[in-house]
Structure formats: structure tokens, C-alpha cells
């Protein structure tokens, strides 16, 4: 039975309510949809502190445990993106666009150069999510940069929408996908799919990387929204960091294309509270309880 978590105002609540729901229904559920209405809203300190307390770096039952920011960096390495105080717009002058482009290109190139070394870390032998986004198939530099392609495409859409005075109704990833195959396409070179491919046909592992298999973007009413599909969402060790990383990725795309940030949704084909690794049902109870406690001053 599919499960639906009522949309939440911020990442912290979205994570907490998802964990609560799956825990209350047995610890493992299929097709769980989680939505964050405002992905850039501040996190809630009590919830974040509870997650951080559980995710102390090290090993647990032989599995590596990584802090939230480390998990988030697998999706968007914010530490390597030095954003200028600019948001892309068709009205920016060439010098301003150059500054914005330089920040993005630095990120792409620096990360791409790092890939061979990053792949020597535990768990990275098949590449990284962000590597697959900026250098497909993700283990070597100078692969296909899907993210740069999406930035270019969305900027083109932004320009076209301005001209048509109809930007607010344009959809990408939904209606626009069908549109690009027809003569009414605003751009004959338009991408057929605005989503990001993170899953390869050669990925045969049933568990582990890649758990994130697809990221889709939809533009509606001037807002860029995201849906990420996970085939296995580990709710304690990964889900919070995944939400943070996805929100950062969405913010990056919004800044680079001039659209507002819409909602962030995550569809987990299997959501797992990992109670076997975290003290059973009582362990998850304690985690949920600690997330509700106020943070000491």
C-alpha cells in the first residue's frame, strides 16, 4: 500500500513525519511520498540535533555511518560551490553572467577532476550521485554534464517564456516533454527529458548505490520543483542528508536559471526505518522522541 506524508514546511518536519509514519506502520513501507513545501526554509534545530546525535561518524554493524552534510554532499557538494550574490536573469549583463557561469563551471570542473580520487572512498567504487550528474557515467572526468545541459535548457525556456509572456503556465518534465517533440517546440534542440539520470542500465546491484535513481524537475507557475525517486530510502542514515542535498541541488538550479524554488518531493519505492541497526522499535521510538525535544540553550 502506498503511503503519503502530508506536505511539510521544511526538511526537518518532512523527515520526522516520514519516519513517524513508516515506523507506525511496521518499519518498512513501499511507495512513500514525502513533500517539502519550502525546501529552503530553516531546519528545526531539535530535529537536526537528534539526527546528528545518531549519525556519529564510524561504523555500525559493519556499515559506515556518515554525518548529514557528508550524505548531502553526495548529491550536491555545496562546499565546492561559491555562489555569487546573483540570480540568473535574461536581463543580466554579460559580465554578471560570466561571474555566475564561472561559479558553476568551477564546481563542475573541480568535482569532475576529483572523481577518480572520490571513487577510492569506501562505498564510492561505482561513482557518486553528483559525479553522475556532472560527468556521466560518473567515474571519470569529462563525461556528459547533465546538470550544465539542464541549466542551459532552463535558461532558454526562461528567455522564451519572457518573450511569449506566458512563462507562468510553462511546464517542463510534464507537458513540455511532449511539446519538445513537436513543431511548436520553442527550441529544436530542446532536451526530451529535463530530469537527471543517475541510474545506469548496467547497475545490477539490488541494494546500495545507487539508491537514488532519478531526479525530475517540473516548472509550473514560475517555480522549479523537484521529484527524486529512491529505490531504497534508509530513513535514519540517509534520508535527512538526502533531503538537504536535494534542496541544495534545487537551489543551485534555481539560482542558475532564475526560477523560484518550488517544492521538493521524494518518492521512496521502499522506505526503511533501519530498526535492526538502531535498537529495534524502541530505538526508533527514542530517536523520534529526541527529535521532538527542545535543544538545550
Amino acid at each position: 500500500m502506498s503511503d503519503y506524508v502530508e506536505p511539510c514546511d521544511n526538511i526537518s518536519q518532512a523527515w520526522l513525519r516520514t519516519l513517524q509514519l513508516v515506523h507506525a506502520r511496521g518499519g518498512r513501507r513501499i511507495n512513500v511520498l514525502t513533500t517539502v513545501s519550502d525546501p529552503l526554509a530553516p531546519e528545526e534545530p531539535a530535529v537536526r540535533a537528534a539526527v546528528d546525535a545518531v549519525l556519529l561518524p564510524g561504523k555500525r554493524k559493519g556499515k559506515g555511518i556518515h554525518p548529514v552534510d557528508t550524505v548531502a554532499s553526495t548529491i550536491f557538494p555545496q562546499e565546492l560551490y561559491f555562489a555569487p550574490d546573483l540570480t540568473w536573469s535574461p536581463d543580466l549583463d554579460a559580465a554578471q553572467v560570466a561571474v555566475l557561469d564561472a561559479a558553476a563551471n568551477d564546481l563542475y570542473e573541480v568535482y569532475s577532476d576529483m572523481l577518480p580520487l572520490l571513487c577510492t572512498a569506501d562505498g564510492n567504487s561505482r561513482g557518486t550521485y553528483f559525479g553522475r550528474m556532472v560527468s556521466w557515467p560518473g567515474k571519470r572526468p569529462r563525461g556528459v554534464n547533465q546538470l550544465a545541459d539542464r541549466v542551459k535548457y532552463l535558461r532558454d525556456v526562461h528567455r522564451t517564456g519572457k518573450r511569449a509572456h506566458n512563462l507562468s503556465d510553462m511546464t517542463i518534465g510534464g507537458e513540455a516533454e511532449a511539446m519538445t517533440g513537436h513543431s511548436c517546440s520553442p527550441d529544436p534542440d530542446a532536451l526530451d527529458d529535463v530530469g537527471l539520470q543517475v541510474y545506469a542500465s548496467t547497475d545490477r546491484r539490488q541494494r546500495g548505490f545507487p539508491c537514488l535513481v532519478h531526479v525530475d524537475f517540473t516548472l509550473l507557475a514560475g517555480q522549479l520543483s523537484m521529484l527524486a525517486v529512491y529505490r531504497h530510502q534508509y530513513l535514519v542514515t540517509k534520508a535527512y542528508g538526502n533531503l538537504v542535498g536535494l534542496a541544495r541541488l534545487l537551489a543551485f538550479l534555481a539560482q542558475q536559471t532564475g526560477f523560484a524554488v518550488g517544492e521538493l518531493a521524494v518518492q521512496a519505492t521502499l522506505a526503511d526505518t533501519q530498526e535492526g541497526d538502531f535498537g529495534g522499535k524502541r530505538g526508533i521510538d527514542r530517536l523520534l522522541e529526541s527529535a521532538r525535544l527542545p535543544v538545550p540553550a
Binding site: Y81, F82, Q255
Partner: protein, 166 residues
């Protein structure tokens, strides 16, 4: 807002944030990358020794950094720390003073996140045309500060010297 057919009512699109880069550390707005003179400025407070030159083309950014392997091997750990701080200035397109004003780690040198540490090691590795380490073999504590990264690079490049001599 996502829709779900079993729900009776859903709010229409909520007011969302503006798309401003709230998640990112905003750099000062500038239509130009930092001028060459801004990048390799005065050495940080850690040492008064003159900082070694870093070749960083501000027009091309951090991937243009070129390090001389012989010079790297001749550097002390303190000099390597200075070198790394210059590289961070190039990466972040900030001045050396701005970089040096960052948080300190418990070893008294600038704190870095592990992703940035990996970039530093990658960049040194490019000078030697090889991967300096396997990350799975590296103690995570070696990726937490400029000092610990400098120490790691000193150790790994020293062994390269020994291998070359043999």
C-alpha cells in the same frame, strides 16, 4: 503541491521562497573574478614566511592551478599549509585574508571540510600525475584541517621521492 487522490482537500500552491541562493555562502557580488594580485596576498598569521607562489589564473579558476612537483617536495609542512591556503583562496575566489579568517581546527590551523580536503589532495596529485592516496586508507582526521592535509601530502610526496630514488 503534490496531489494524492485519497485526500479530500489539499491546499493550492503555498507561497514559496523566492529562489534566492539562501543555501549558499554568497560571495561578494562582483562582475569580475579577483585580480591576480588579490589571490596570492600576504601569508596567513600562522607564519611570517613568504608564501610560495601559486599559479592560479583568476580567469580560469581553480582548475588552472599548476604546482611544480619538485617545489612541492621541497616544501616544509608550514610551507605546504601556506600553499594550501592560497589554493583555497583560488577555489573560493576570495582573498587570502578572507580565507585565513575562517574557523580554526583543534590543531591550530584552518579547518576544512573533507570534500575540500579531497580537492586539495587531487590538485597536488595532478602535479605528480598520479593519485596520491586511496581515500579508504586515509584516516578521516587527516581531512579536517589545512595542517592535517599538509601533513598527509608531505608524507605521500616524500614516499614518492623515495620511490624515485630507488
Amino acid at each position: 503541491m503534490s496531489d494524492y487522490p485519497t485526500l479530500v482537500s489539499m491546499n493550492e500552491n503555498v507561497v514559496s521562497s523566492s529562489g534566492a541562493p539562501l543555501f549558499f555562502p554568497a560571495a561578494p557580488q562582483s562582475a569580475q573574478p579577483p585580480a591576480p594580485s588579490e589571490v596570492p596576498e600576504q601569508a596567513p598569521a600562522a607564519s611570517q614566511d613568504p608564501a610560495p607562489e601559486t599559479s592560479c589564473d583568476p580567469g580560469r579558476g581553480p582548475t588552472s592551478i599548476e604546482l611544480d612537483p619538485a617545489a612541492v617536495q621541497a616544501m616544509s609542512e608550514v610551507e605546504l599549509q601556506q600553499q594550501i591556503q592560497q589554493m583555497l583562496a583560488c577555489l573560493r575566489r576570495r582573498t587570502l585574508q578572507e580565507v585565513a579568517a575562517g574557523d580554526m581546527y583543534s590543531d591550530g590551523t584552518l579547518a576544512v571540510d573533507s570534500m575540500t580536503a579531497v580537492w586539495v589532495i587531487t590538485t597536488f596529485g595532478k602535479a605528480f600525475r598520479r593519485r596520491l592516496v586511496r581515500l579508504s586508507d586515509v584516516d578521516p582526521d587527516s581531512l579536517r584541517s589545512v595542517g592535517s592535509v599538509a601533513k598527509l601530502i608531505k608524507q605521500t610526496t616524500a614516499s614518492l621521492m623515495a620511490a624515485g630514488a630507488a
